[in-house]
Amino acid sequence: MRTILTGMTMALCLGVAMNAIATVPSAAQAKDGAITVALSGGLDRLDPALTSNGTDLVILGQIYDTLLRMDPDGTLQPAVAKSYEATGENTWRFHLRDDVKFQDGSKLTAADVKFSIERILDKSMASTHASQLSTIENVVAVDDYTIDLVTRGPDPQLPRRMQAYGGTGRVFIVSKNYVESNTPETVSDKPMGSGPYKLDEWSKGQKIVLSENADYWGDHSDVKLATFTFIPENSTRVNALLQKEVDLIQRLPIADIERVEGSDSLHVIWTPNGLVHNINLDCRSAPFDDIEVRKAFSESLDLEGIVESLLGEYGRVLSGPLPPQVVQYDETLEPRKYDPEAAFAVVQEKGLAPFSTNTSDGRYIADREIYQAINAQAGAVGFQITPRVMEWGRLINMIINGTAGPLYIVGWDYSENDASKMHAFGNSSRPTALCKVPGYDEAANKAMTELDDEKRTALWREAQRAMNESYMIAGTWQAASIFGARNEIKWEANFGDNISLSDIKIEP
């Protein structure tokens, strides 16, 4: 017994000693252009065709280039493509820069862009980005620096997929030669692109280190070296910032904002999030198959009050389904009314049966608290709701199978700043659709293939009004992406939870 214990003790001491000798993660220091960033989730794989995990996309966006970039107001700007135009109803033509090099020194040409897109569309890859690019019929490399995307029908949304933000449907440009001459594991574990930063080291589960790509074709930023660590636990992430172990954190919880603001050396950076939260009502079955009941439910909610008390300045109630940063946003939509008396009268008259609903816990900012407040207010006018809280994995499965109940809260990501994302839940042929909204399908289906911007905007505005008039969505609100940072870090967040190292200034 004693020998076993002694042996174990020695082995452990050895392990600890080995660990002590191993590389110590450098303490955070926003100087010499080295910064440490704590992300709120871990990395899965860094193959741009195979992942749409948010934290993976943050890292991929530093290593890889895209054809286009986006301004905060949603305007598309040149990147690897210096210009683009529609050369026909079904063709988008991109003209590439001729001075872009991959980090291994090889030139980026149209062949690489063609390869990157076809790799996503390859069915055997089962890429999560494929469905958003499904209109592409053919990719033609006209010459080394010209590429045509030929679509099955007009697709005005396609150029938006060529910039980095918006979740699924991104096209990051990989090197054809590198992917073909390496194993899939290498492509994923040692990503090699043409972006402003290159991979130095990735210790899985612990950290990933990126350094500046000296040969980058674009502007150079103050950040020369960035270490990303992964801290899913909110309070731990905030503590690491307060302790100066990291310089910048993603997803600062609202409850901790005061602690960060109370520190002399830290500040809060925030931007409205691309994520819009809807209270979706299922109009295929009772009780919400009746528009009057849907309207009554919507009018029973003082959403302004709920969002104000739970999110304060970091949230806002929206009049329609879309956030203001969407290009086709209709600012003339009437805000939803709060009229509990009218709602009470309707509920009394209809004599509704009790029903139960489900919500996720922790998927969205304050989702559970908002849901509880909604239940209380709907209950006050006579809706008899049995609430159930569950984890997101279970709820999203129920949503996709159509068994999530009469209402649920879900977030839609409008980071692309385009109304077409609304079609994800409005389009009555999707598994997640809740019903046929009168007038919506016609307008939206036309808008999906309308290349004229003005007409397209008019159609999407029509679709927004149809959506509002149907009361399929009882209420909408938008939260904020909040970051905590050291004072030396000067950065304006514009794209939700995304972090672009290139935009960060360091001022000691």
Binding site: M8, T9, P232, A240, I396
Partner: protein, 305 residues
């Protein structure tokens, strides 16, 4: 020796039952396809991904396929990470063993002597102090204790890092958390099982004979208490692995507890199944070692081995 075979067979049976239960339970509330895809997937994308992950096959086919691969040591690929389950678990297991190992030794070194003292001198001031602190520390949630330690030793005193791995300093707070939450039960159990096995009059008789106190405790008490203490330490390993889940989460310590939570949330079946296999094997081995140690410690049981 026959006993060992019996234990091994029992162990295999346990592993198979636990594994089958896990296999069914994790699949009850849906699959990872909904989580991998955007919130609005077209049916075609769902079907394609399910086929790629092999989730479109009937569940019994998946089960047989999984069992036969597991028997050859192949636990498959993670649905999310592009690596094999063995590689991912291997990456995390060492961290958990380090954390749990340090906590195991530290809590045993503190709790067992304390428990012995309290049992030999029941009702003394030390005994009562142990009772009180045990109640306090066993009722503090591990999560909160971890945050308190961080608040004081990291944020206030600036002595230790708040999260992560890499140096011995990173190990201190998570190991301390795990140690503190496992000491009370271990000390109290040591005390109560000692009181059961200790023929008190025998101890008193030895004392009355004028045997020095040290020899009384070492010779008389410990010899009688060895068997229950070995069993307690075995149980302790189980509670440490359980406690590691919370502790690892709070400190972003990349161990299997943390891995299991994340994998369960996103329905990464192969990882969850892999963790269950590893942990069950660890337990079967520990049980057998426990059995052997007890036989070594207790000559009366050797005869029927």
């Amino acid at each position: 020796m026959r006993v060992i075979y019996r234990q091994l067979l029992q162990g295999l049976l346990v592993i198979w039952i636990v594994l089958s239960a896990t296999f069914v339970l994790v699949r009850l509330s849906g699959d990872p396809v909904a989580i991998l895809l955007p919130e609005n997937p077209p049916q075609e994308a769902i079907d394609l991904l399910q086929a790629k992950l092999g989730l479109d096959r009937p569940i019994y086919v998946q089960y047989v396929d999984f069992l036969s691969s597991a028997l050859t040591g192949d636990m498959g690929q993670s649905y999310f990470e592009g690596s094999s389950v063995s590689e991912i678990i291997g990456r995390h297991l060492g961290n958990t063993l380090l954390l749990a190992g340090v906590a195991f030794i530290a809590s045993a070194l503190i709790a067992i002597p304390t428990g012995i003292y309290a049992a030999v001198y029941p009702g003394s001031f030390g005994d009562r102090l142990l009772q009180v602190t045990a109640v306090v520390f066993s009722s503090i949630p591990a999560f909160w204790l971890a945050l308190l330690l961080v608040q004081f030793f990291a944020l206030y005193m600036n002595w230790l890092p708040t999260y992560g791995t890499g140096t011995w300093r990173h190990l201190v707070l998570p190991a301390a958390t795990l140690t503190l939450i496992s000491i009370p039960s271990l000390a109290r159990l040591t005390r109560s099982s000692l009181l059961e096995v200790l023929p008190l009059n025998y101890v008193q008789a030895s004392r009355a004979k004028g045997m020095p106190e040290r020899r009384v405790v070492l010779r008389v008490v410990l010899r009688n208490a060895l068997v229950p203490i070995i069993t307690l330490l075995t149980l302790e390993i189980g509670s440490l692995l359980g406690g590691a889940v919370v502790t690892e989460t709070v400190f972003s310590w990349p161990g299997i507890g943390h891995l299991t939570v994340v994998s369960l949330q996103r329905r990464d079946f192969p990882i969850v199944q892999g963790v269950v296999i590893y942990v069950s094997i660890i337990f079967v081995v520990i049980t057998i070692v426990n059995e052997l140690l007890i036989r070594l410690a207790s000559p009366r049981l050797r005869g029927d081995a």
